[in-house]
Amino acid sequence: MNANIHLIGLNHRTAGVDIREKYALSSLEAFEKMLVHGPVREALALSTCNRVEILIVSDGSPAAADHVLHCWAEACSQPVSGLVSHTYIHENEQAVEHLFRVAGSLDSMVLGEPQILGQLKEAYRKAVESGTAKIVINRLLHKAFFVAKRIRSETGVASSAVSISYAAVALARKIFGELQGKRAMLIGAGEMAELAAMHLLGAGIEHICVANRTFARAEELAARFKGTAIPFDALYSKLPEVDIVISSTGAPTAVIHARDMKQVLKKRRHKPMFFIDIAVPRDIDPDVNQLDNAYLYDIDDLKEVVEENLAQRRDEAEKASTIVREEVQAFSHWLGSLELQPTIVDLLSSGERIAQRELQKTLRRLGPDVPEETRKALEVLVTSLAHKLYHEPIVYLKRRAREEGPAERFVHNVRRIFNLDEETVPEDAHVCRHKPSSLSGDQICQDKPQ
């Protein structure tokens, strides 16, 4: 791969939170614009609570990575020395592979979590807006999103819940199917139980009622979930109306007993009930699970589900890594064939510029009374002429690249022939060829093809 792609970053594995917060980037657009100078042609920055990743495409100068580190430290008003021991620098294929792994959530703290892809898309959007994402980054990021999609659809790396609250929601779905129209009851108030209730609401549950020994706290929680508060003593009378019970009280003994649940289930005509007991000591009598149409999971059961799912995800990550490797190869191949692209673009732009310059000259000569139709026709004529003139060199370049692999030599010659890099040629350049003895070796080499 000849393109110079660098990925410089730090993440939750290489830096503690104290370092990550110091070097987090706040204004990505401004930072990207700051980066795109000197050797750096394109740039994209991603900054989340777990990682900062800076992707650049440079002209191959070894100073590019240093330039990034200095800009990064400067943007955070921190010393560069603080970054050095925590950052990784990946080049070319390694950089592409790392980016694909980040997009596919294989590098995340929680393997397979979906947020990173959204964050990467947002970072890309900003880079496009700031004008620092061009041909290589555009293609690379689109490929990264494609890889993430492939990983998601072809492997189970993101298929199972890996948090207690999500595991509870996934189980509820396995019992009830869709959760629309279902009702839940939250007994007591614990952070994890509230989170589970929140996820259930997000999954479409119709209503949540809250029972707490302190009624004011129940009202406060009910207001947050747009549900209703019920007195703790009225818990049993409300149970027949609910499908899911999440319990997390600090009670030393069970709050819900199997013997009472028989009556509750009878009242609700044996429609299924799902109990999530997050309290320690447990709030719900374990015998409830023995009743027909009653399903009980306590905190240890849920932890086991999460552990199992994490192990499954790790197995699936192997498959995902194979996908990443395949796609890195495909991207490298594309990049190899793309080396012509900037030259072709430059060639056409140069032709258009010349055509416009000549058009303006002609229009000035014709005077101000030239009809609009004539002006437009002339414009079309010169642009089309420029494109046609450059058509054959472009075809030639593409053919050479196709037949002989990397077309660097031909690209170089074409750039020189058409002076696409707008180098100033010394007035006596011809002299140096004819009278080499009168010039230094450096001057001679300057004019030789590299």
Partner: protein, 277 residues
Amino acid sequence: MGSVELLKLFVIGLYLAGTILSLSGILVARKSLRSVGMACAVAGFALHTFDMGLVTSQPGNSLTAGAFYYSLFSWLLLLIWFLAWWRLKLGFLALTISPLALLFYISSLRLAPMHVTTPPTLLGLFFGLHIGALFLALALLAVSFGAGLAFLHLERKIKTKEPLTGFRKDLPSLSTFDRAVHWAVAAGFPLYTVGLLSGFFWAKLTWGKVFSWDIKELTSITIWFLYASLFYQRMVTGRQGRRTAILAIWVFALAMLSMLGINLLTPSHHSFTAVPL
């Protein structure tokens, strides 16, 4: 080999391919295999429909032949499976229904005609009310059997907190299987009742008595009582879940015993005999 035999062989081939691909697609959790299996089953079903059309268009009482009964049952099983797939997304019923349909279709080729004295003018009525209604009810029982088995399997996994691995991860929810049992019982029991009553009526017309203590008749009555109990529990008391799933499985098992065991092995009004090889 005549063209009809060739057609039947094609049907068997497609049903066999459909069954194997659907089962392996479910067990290895590969959607593409399931889709190809389904396509084979649909193609087999289309040819099977054509085959039945040929039989019904023949002159005489070919409709009352045992061969046609089993072929019809196989066809209805698939029809109901397609409906369950379409309405409840229960592709997983392939695990039970697809092998059953194949078994009955192959069996149908080995059965000799059963002698039933049927006046041609009443043939359609007899067929629609007795055979049609009963077989439809049994095909629906097959759905409740398959859904009931899946329900019990998934429920045991959830109750014992075992991890849901392999194809189990893709299984629909418990409530979907329960709804399938409910749907099949709600539609199946009235049909079974109509089929049974029309059978008694028919017996009075052809044999001069409503009930002749025939073993098939006794089994059918037992099945009706069990089916009625299942219907009552589901529709009247609103009972759901495990208990009704178990009962549905037993009712279906008894119905299959009656259909394969009694019809083939015991001497009764409903006996079929196998064609000697």
